[in-house]
Symmetry: D2
Subunit: 308 residues, 4 copies
């Protein structure tokens, strides 16, 4: 039986030493300050054992990884009616593309591109004040990770509020087609803030456990979603979780995963483990460069690819 | 332990009785004649046991399912240099779209859309006469299925030769960018013919076994590809195997799969089974309507989704 | 010599009687209330004689026709540096398309599509408060028409402020690429207000005289722009003045022209006359249906097409 | 009164001396051999006087300029039914773009992009052998220029036959949508050959006279088309004659014109003159670099812009 602790530590050491680290995202000014040398990896297996390597307790901005959790929340609220407002097909386009919206009457291709996640946020917000929606999302993250210390980084949220013109364009465009129901500023406010949730790899891996174990958190025994819904969220992570690099991630890593421009990736090994990795440098598609390589190593050494 | 034989028979009976059957493809005149009432399902497990339901020994035109096998052959010839001529990302577009080619200098997004499969065929053809290439492809299919009776349906190939203007446009367009090396007519001739291979569900499921079992056919003991390559082909089937319905297939079925406009689908349950289904009526994305529903039933009842 | 007064009256009578009137724009709620039966035509010849037919003194919302005048103003401020922020090619796309912006780094194709006119407005605004910029635009219109009564319809501006999500998307998108320098809300505020200028056909035809006469208003003797600039503005009106109906307008009418969704069109017969027409019903490209037909009649009867 | 002979000679001298000459087209191998130093200008006024400068009797490949004449012929055959197969709007895209065809069911935007001219050629061909159609086109050119020596350059036609994969893609794509009626190879054969017509500037300017004079050749008295049709062809030349550089040509030159990749441009000064210019070096949009500048000079000095 493989020694997961050893493997995780070895991968973390290899990654910390590599010179090729990708480029830290600069389009959100606050994120541009992050040290590209950071690296962390955390794996929670079915028994709740957490294997860690690198800065596994350093918090980073989860950014688009929050989209997995807001999708879960919105499905809980709207059920399958959610799919009237957002598709579930890979877009074949960059994360912030607006072309597809024009051609498809404002319906985003999937919940993991920016436009789709804004539409999902609008569903969560529905009928509430932004503060209430944010409170609900934060409580959900704390509940999933069983950790009341998780919080939002207001400086990051404010930074994107000031500069997120492209997301503002996406939101107004969907509003023009009636895809958003709330005031654009409300929906974007909630969106920018949930992207600014700060978590460590340890916390993130713990929060993702329900997706690896049929919708249930094995530690707490809480059922978060049905087994079918957990499978389906994983499926969307597999086909859409890395924007126009989703095919590459499936090809190399072989697990459902969701990346964020903060450099984090949440990956799910169904029935085996929930995995979080972090390295701030990104590749051309906006996904963590070393994060992806680390996950490729991990699945190869453990034989965890879902593809055999 | 579930009784696969019983489950397969029950699904076949349910599907044969359903009134919603999709629409038989008409763009290849010869295919338009097929009876929409046909249905078949075949599952080959790790021990070689074949569970069948419906017309499992009736041959149909495998069409684009052949792209899985030509990709395997071309990777054997060109190795990773193949990826200089074709990508491996979902296209987010219909199977015969040409827009993406114009924007990306003639490089098709993946080997499972028509343009990509034509580029793959060009790699197989390289340095040979069309007849030799076709002979090689046919021998490979017979070897994989361990069945020397598999053949091509010349009437179907001729029908598409006469009417396949859109594929001819794709091929000439790639030729303009230097992506094809052989004369366009040679490459298209081989492409139309390998799409016209006729196989039954039983034969197709047997031919796909190497993908379920680490690249090795457990019956013959022959190693077809390395375990890593088998995983990677499965990954491309998962993200790109159903054109702009790939996300939907992953979401509902949860297995790597490849469809053809003849109504067939090959699906792989890694480490468990190779599965073939056939029903000629198609959905809006050009994938078998009942074939997809049958696979959804099968994976639900057997718990075979790779997503948990 | 043709009797212009008679021809104008006859055309107005024919148009008022026609049953096919197009559809009044509904996307700005305030505009949707306009009576589709309205029609007016005014022609000012080189001697200053104004031939009128129909409701030539009824004010309507000039909407995008204002883009001709803001372009003139912005060229006066920025000169040819304006062309660093906006192109001068037909877009081949609808007036509010965003696709082209994504593919061309936020630079609008021409100053007469919405995105381009917003960029032009941003140039006029530069370094001023919105109120000052609006004052300047209004003074310019009054100066051109030699009529101090011209004003803005605040209800129309407010209506578009509340509902103009698509323009808001365009503006934010350009802001993301650095094409806009001022706060998005400032630029849009000025844009929505100058589109809400209300003018009659008589006033509009008078305001356009400088374009027909080498940049000089023959009535006042004021030189507005150089002869070369007048020609060039006319050229852009010819190729881009009617969105994706520009080719059709050139083909049928044969004059440079600019339409607005309020149903107005300003057309220029170089060296001969400035022409304004108004009929609120629009065709599929968003241009006045009867307005275009009336201009076609007029140029045929007077032999005014620039194309021979 | 300006001395046209002097002006034409001075412009030709200036152009011959300029170091910036653009790049000779290389995508048709036979054209790549042309000497970039060539320059010619010919102006035929209403009285039939021909002012010439430079190599006005050197024949060059007229390439896409032939599209003006095939459009004229096809309108003579099909009348306004031609517009069911091709539009008349600027495309906003390069001359050989295929994207627009996919989005608009195979109907080309206008008769002056490659796809549109192929569709027009198909109309001329209808019901004839390629040789007959080519004979008819050549006779028409000789008739228009009143010069029986005009011929096709078979080496150029053969060169494009061998390498015109992109045009072959366009034609097959339209065939797939039913926009072409004849065998693709027939239509393309005629298309490649009429593009390979060789003419001098003198011949070309003479051939274009009917467009400047209400559809009638003032020299021969022959009526080629109605005055309305002549105006309309001029209108399409204005909005679509220079691909995605049409706006620029209208802005700078102010005349209807049609360019070819051989470096020629035919421009029409309605009621005044027919003008041909030739310089083989092209700009980024595929239009003659010095040809356009020479025409800009000419219209400025003679005050011939249609825009005032």
């Amino acid at each position: 039986m493989p020694d997961i602790d050893l493997i995780v530590r070895e991968i973390a050491e290899e990654m910390r030493a590599r010179p090729d680290r990708g480029d830290v995202a600069t389009y959100i000014p606050e994120l541009a300050r992050v040290d590209p040398a950071g690296f962390a990896l955390a794996v929670v297996d079915v028994d709740g054992h957490v294997a860690v390597g690198g800065d596994a307790d350093v918090a980073f901005s989860i950014q688009s990884i929050s989209k997995v959790f807001t999708l879960t929340l919105a499905l809980g609220k709207a059920g399958n009616r959610l799919w009237e407002r957002v598709g579930r097909e890979p877009s074949g386009s960059p994360f912030n593309s607006i072309v597809q919206l024009e051609n498809e009457r404002g319906i985003p291709r999937n919940p993991f591109i920016n436009a789709g996640a804004i539409a999902v946020t609008d569903v969560i917000l529905s009928g509430h004040q932004p503060k209430e929606a944010l409170g609900e999302i934060l409580r959900f993250m704390r509940f999933l990770a069983d950790d009341p210390t998780i919080s939002m980084d207001d400086a990051v949220a404010a930074s994107e509020q000031r500069t997120g013109f492209r997301n503002r364009a996406l939101a107004n465009y969907m509003k023009a087609f009636g895809v958003l129901e709330n005031p654009v500023d409300y929906t974007l406010g909630v969106y920018f803030h949930h992207c600014a949730i700060a978590m460590s790899c340890r916390q993130l891996a713990l929060a993702g456990r329900f997706l690896a174990h049929g919708g249930r958190n094995p530690a707490t025994g809480h059922s978060v979603v049905s087994p079918e819904r957990a499978r389906r969220i994983n499926a969307i992570m597999m086909t859409c979780g890395h924007y126009d690099g989703s095919g590459e991630f499936a090809y190399r890593v072989g697990l459902p995963g969701k990346s964020g421009v903060g450099g984090g990736i949440l990956a799910i090994a169904p029935r085996k483990a929930s995995i979080a990795v972090w390295s701030p440098g990104l590749d051309a598609s906006g996904n963590s460069h070393l994060g992806r390589i680390a996950l490729e190593r991990l699945t190869q050494r453990l034989g965890w690819s879902v593809f055999g």
